[in-house]
C-alpha cells in the first residue's frame, strides 16, 4: 500500500510540473484572479512585451477601489485611474472583467466561488493575501506578490516551495452566537500571528464539517492572519451542493467526472502532519480584538490584559496597542463605546453574514452610524430579495454597493482618526481603516450587537427568542 497522503500532498502533486534540485516546485495554475492592485504586474509584463499565456484562465475584478456609492461618476481621479488601468489591461489581454456595472461584480474572493470559478482540486492564485479563502473548497489557493503575478500571467505557472502541513481540528457543536470568525480569532489568539508561518493549514473535525461554505470561507480567509499562506477544507457534499449550477461550474458528464475526482481530495487516514492543533468548540466564545494585531483578541466577557503581567516580548506590543486603541489595562471589553460599525469584506460579506447581522438588527435601531457593503452585487441582490436591505436601513445603517470598501479604505470609505469601529473585516492593523482609526474585529452578528447597543457587546442575549 502506498504511503497515506495529506490533502496538501495530493493537491501539490496534481499541479507539479517539475521540482528543481533545491526543492522548489513549478506548479500549474488553474485560475488566476487579478484586481486593480495588479497594475505593477501588468506593467512588468508590458516592459517585457510579453502576452498573457492563458487568458481564459485569468479573471479580472474591480474591487479594491470600487466606489460603494455614486458609481456613475468617480470624483477622485486617482481612483478612476486605477480602475481604468485594470480595464485597459483586461481589454488588451482579452480577460473576462467583472466591471463596476456588472451584476456579478464584487470582492474577488467572493466572486470566484460565487461564479463557480473556484472548484475543489484547483490551484488558484491572486495578488492578494486573502486568496487562502478559496481553499475552503479543497483548492490549493494562495496569495502572491506582483512579481509572481507577472510570472503567472506570462507562464500560467508559479514557483513555490511546498509548505509544511498543519491540521487544526475543531470538535463539537458551536455555542449560540459563535461563528467561524470566532474559531479563527480564537486560534490566532492562541498561536499568534506567526503561529502557522510556513504551514498550509487544513481545517478538520466535526465543527468544520458542520460549517456552511460561507463559514469555511471565513475560516480559510483568516488563515493568513495566523501566518499561513494556505487554508483548506476537504470538499464534501456541502461543497458540491454549493458549486452545482454556478455559471462556470462543470455540468453534465463533466460534473460527474469532476465530483468523482473531488471525492478523493481528503487527507488519508494516518497521513502525517508536521503540526496538529485540536480545539474544543465549546471553549470558543464570541471573540473580539482589542489591539492592533489579530492575535490581540479575547472572549467578549474578558478584561483587557495588563502589559505588566505579560511576557516582555508581548508586553511592549500590548502597551503600544492599548495606547493606540485608547483603552486601559483591566478595562472590560464589553461596554466600550463605539463610534461606528462596518459590515462587509471578503471575510464576512456573504449572504449568510448579512442574514446573521440582520437577525440581530431586525426591529431594532442602531445607536451609531454604520455602513453595510455586501461582498458582491449578487449578494446584494439576494439580500434585497430577502428584504435584508430594509432591516439595515430601518435600523439606520447605510446600504451600499459592493467592494473592499472600509476593509482597507482605498475607495475612500475611511474611519476617521481616533474613531472606534466595530468591523466584520480581517485586519485591525494601525491605520488599516484610515490613519488613526481604531478597529475591533468581530463577527457580523457581533457588529450588529455593537450597532444596537452603541458599545462592544455580547450578541448572545440579543439573540434570545430569535433564530440567527
Amino acid at each position: 500500500m502506498s504511503q497515506p497522503r495529506t490533502l496538501l500532498d495530493k493537491l501539490w502533486r496534481a499541479h507539479e510540473v517539475l521540482q528543481r534540485e533545491d526543492g522548489v516546485s513549478l506548479l500549474w495554475v488553474d485560475r488566476h484572479l487579478v484586481h486593480e492592485g495588479s497594475h505593477h504586474a501588468f506593467a512588468k509584463l508590458a516592459s517585457r512585451g510579453a502576452a498573457v499565456a492563458v487568458p481564459e484562465q485569468t479573471f479580472a475584478v474591480v474591487d479594491h477601489y470600487a466606489p460603494t456609492r455614486g458609481r456613475g461618476r468617480i470624483a477622485d481621479p486617482q481612483i478612476a485611474r486605477m480602475i481604468d488601468t485594470l480595464r485597459q489591461n483586461a481589454g488588451r489581454h482579452d480577460l473576462r472583467l467583472f466591471d463596476l456595472d456588472d451584476p456579478s461584480q464584487g470582492i474577488v474572493h467572493v466572486v470566484g466561488p460565487e461564479q463557480g470559478l473556484t472548484l475543489p482540486g484547483l490551484l488558484i492564485n491572486c495578488g492578494d493575501s486573502h486568496t487562502s479563502t478559496h481553499g475552503a473548497f479543497g483548492a490549493l489557493a494562495f496569495g502572491i506578490g506582483a512579481t509572481e503575478v507577472a510570472h503567472v500571467l506570462a507562464t500560467q505557472t508559479v514557483w513555490q516551495k511546498k509548505p509544511k502541513a498543519m491540521r487544526i481540528s475543531v470538535e463539537g457543536p458551536l455555542g449560540p452566537g459563535v461563528t467561524a470568525k470566532d474559531i479563527a480569532l480564537n486560534w490566532i489568539a492562541r498561536l499568534g500571528t506567526g503561529g502557522a508561518q510556513g504551514h498550509a493549514v487544513e481545517y478538520a473535525g466535526s465543527t468544520i464539517q458542520d460549517l456552511s461554505m460561507e463559514g469555511r470561507m471565513t475560516l480559510c480567509n483568516l488563515s493568513i492572519e495566523g501566518g499561513a499562506r494556505f487554508g483548506m477544507v476537504a470538499p464534501d457534499e456541502t461543497t458540491f451542493a454549493y458549486i452545482k449550477g454556478r455559471p462556470y461550474a462543470p455540468d453534465g458528464p463533466a460534473w460527474t467526472a469532476a465530483v468523482e475526482e473531488w471525492r478523493s481530495l481528503v487527507s488519508d487516514a494516518g497521513a502525517a502532519f508536521d503540526r496538529e492543533v485540536v480545539i474544543n468548540a465549546a471553549d470558543i466564545a464570541p471573540t473580539v480584538t482589542w489591539g492592533t494585531s489579530p492575535e490581540q483578541a479575547l472572549p467578549i466577557d474578558a478584561a483587557l490584559p495588563d502589559p505588566a503581567a505579560l511576557t516582555p516580548a508581548k508586553a511592549e506590543a500590548a502597551a503600544a496597542a492599548l495606547d493606540y486603541m485608547g483603552l486601559a489595562a483591566g478595562q472590560h471589553l464589553a461596554g466600550t463605546p463605539v463610534d461606528q460599525v462596518f459590515i462587509g469584506s471578503c471575510t464576512n460579506g456573504r449572504i449568510e453574514d448579512l442574514r446573521a447581522a440582520a437577525a440581530v438588527l431586525s426591529g431594532r435601531r442602531a445607536k451609531v452610524p454604520g455602513l453595510v457593503s455586501p461582498g458582491s452585487q449578487r449578494v446584494k441582490a439576494q439580500a434585497e430579495e430577502e428584504g435584508l436591505d430594509r432591516v439595515f436601513t430601518e435600523a439606520g445603517l447605510e446600504w451600499a454597493a459592493s467592494g473592499c470598501s472600509m476593509c482597507v479604505g482605498m475607495n475612500g470609505d475611511l474611519v476617521e482618526s481616533g474613531k472606534r469601529c466595530a468591523s466584520s473585516t480581517n485586519r485591525n492593523f494601525r491605520g488599516r481603516q484610515g490613519r488613526g482609526a481604531r478597529t475591533h474585529l468581530m463577527s457580523p452578528a457581533m457588529v450588529a450587537a455593537a450597532a444596537v447597543t452603541g458599545t462592544i457587546a455580547d450578541v448572545r442575549p440579543l439573540l434570545a427568542g430569535r433564530t440567527p
Partner: protein, 203 residues
C-alpha cells in the same frame, strides 16, 4: 535585477515586532506608479506625525542613508502588497534582519533583490540595543550567510534557493521559459486527465 554577494552599509534599528505591510506602506499611497519611487512612503505613518513632519525620535529618522534594517519578529506580515518591498528598496534598503518574516513578504523581497535575513530573537534584541545611538557599518556576505556588525560576527539563515537567486539576480520568467517543453507536456496530459479544470461558462 542584478545579483549580489556582498554588501556593506549603514544599519538602523526598528525595534518593533509585527511590522505589517500596512505599516510599511499605507494603502492610500499604492495607486502611485512605481516610476515615481516609493521610498518616501516607507513606514509613512510611523515616521511622521499627523502633519507629515518626520518624528525626530523615530529610530529610522536618526540615521542617514541606512541600507540595513534590524527589526523584530514577524516582519512584513499581512497583505501581499509588493509595494511594501518597493518602499524599502526605493528608500535604499538591501537587507532586513528579523527573527521571522511574513511568508509572502519574504518571497516578494527576494524577487526584488532585498535580503530577508533570519536571526534569532536574542540576537535581534542585542543588535537593536547595540544600535541605539551608535550608527554602525555592517558587512554582509551571502556566500557564507554571515554579517559583521562592528566586531560582532552574526550568522543568519535564509532558504538555500533564495540565497542562490539573490546571488544570481535571477529573473523567474526567464528561468521558467527554459522549461517550456515540460510545461507544454504537463498541460497536455492535464487537459486529458482533468478536463473540468478549464473554465467554460454555460450559455
Amino acid at each position: 535585477m542584478a545579483g549580489w554577494r556582498r554588501h556593506e552599509g549603514q544599519a538602523v534599528r526598528l525595534p518593533l515586532a509585527n511590522v505589517d505591510t500596512d505599516q510599511l506602506i499605507p494603502a492610500r499611497f499604492m495607486s502611485v506608479p512605481r516610476a515615481e519611487g516609493y521610498g518616501r512612503y516607507l513606514l509613512h505613518d510611523l515616521r511622521r506625525d499627523e502633519s507629515g513632519v518626520m518624528r525626530r525620535d523615530f529610530p529610522l529618522n536618526t540615521v542617514d542613508q541606512a541600507s540595513v534594517l534590524v527589526a523584530g519578529a514577524n516582519f512584513g506580515s499581512g497583505s501581499s502588497r509588493e509595494a511594501a518591498v518597493y518602499a524599502l528598496v526605493d528608500a535604499g534598503f538591501r537587507v532586513v534582519f528579523a527573527p521571522s518574516f511574513g511568508d509572502i513578504f519574504a518571497s516578494n523581497a527576494v524577487n526584488n533583490g532585498l535580503l530577508p535575513a533570519r536571526i534569532d530573537a536574542d540576537t535581534s534584541d542585542a543588535l537593536a540595543e547595540m544600535l541605539v545611538g551608535f550608527p554602525c557599518k555592517v558587512q554582509i556576505d551571502l556566500g557564507t550567510c554571515r554579517a559583521t556588525f562592528g566586531n560582532h560576527d552574526v550568522p543568519f539563515t535564509l532558504d538555500e534557493n533564495w540565497r542562490i537567486k539573490l546571488m544570481n539576480g535571477w529573473d523567474d520568467i526567464d528561468l521558467t521559459q527554459q522549461h517550456a517543453m515540460a510545461i507544454d507536456a504537463f498541460r497536455e496530459r492535464y487537459a486529458e486527465t482533468s478536463p473540468w479544470t478549464v473554465p467554460r461558462k454555460r450559455s
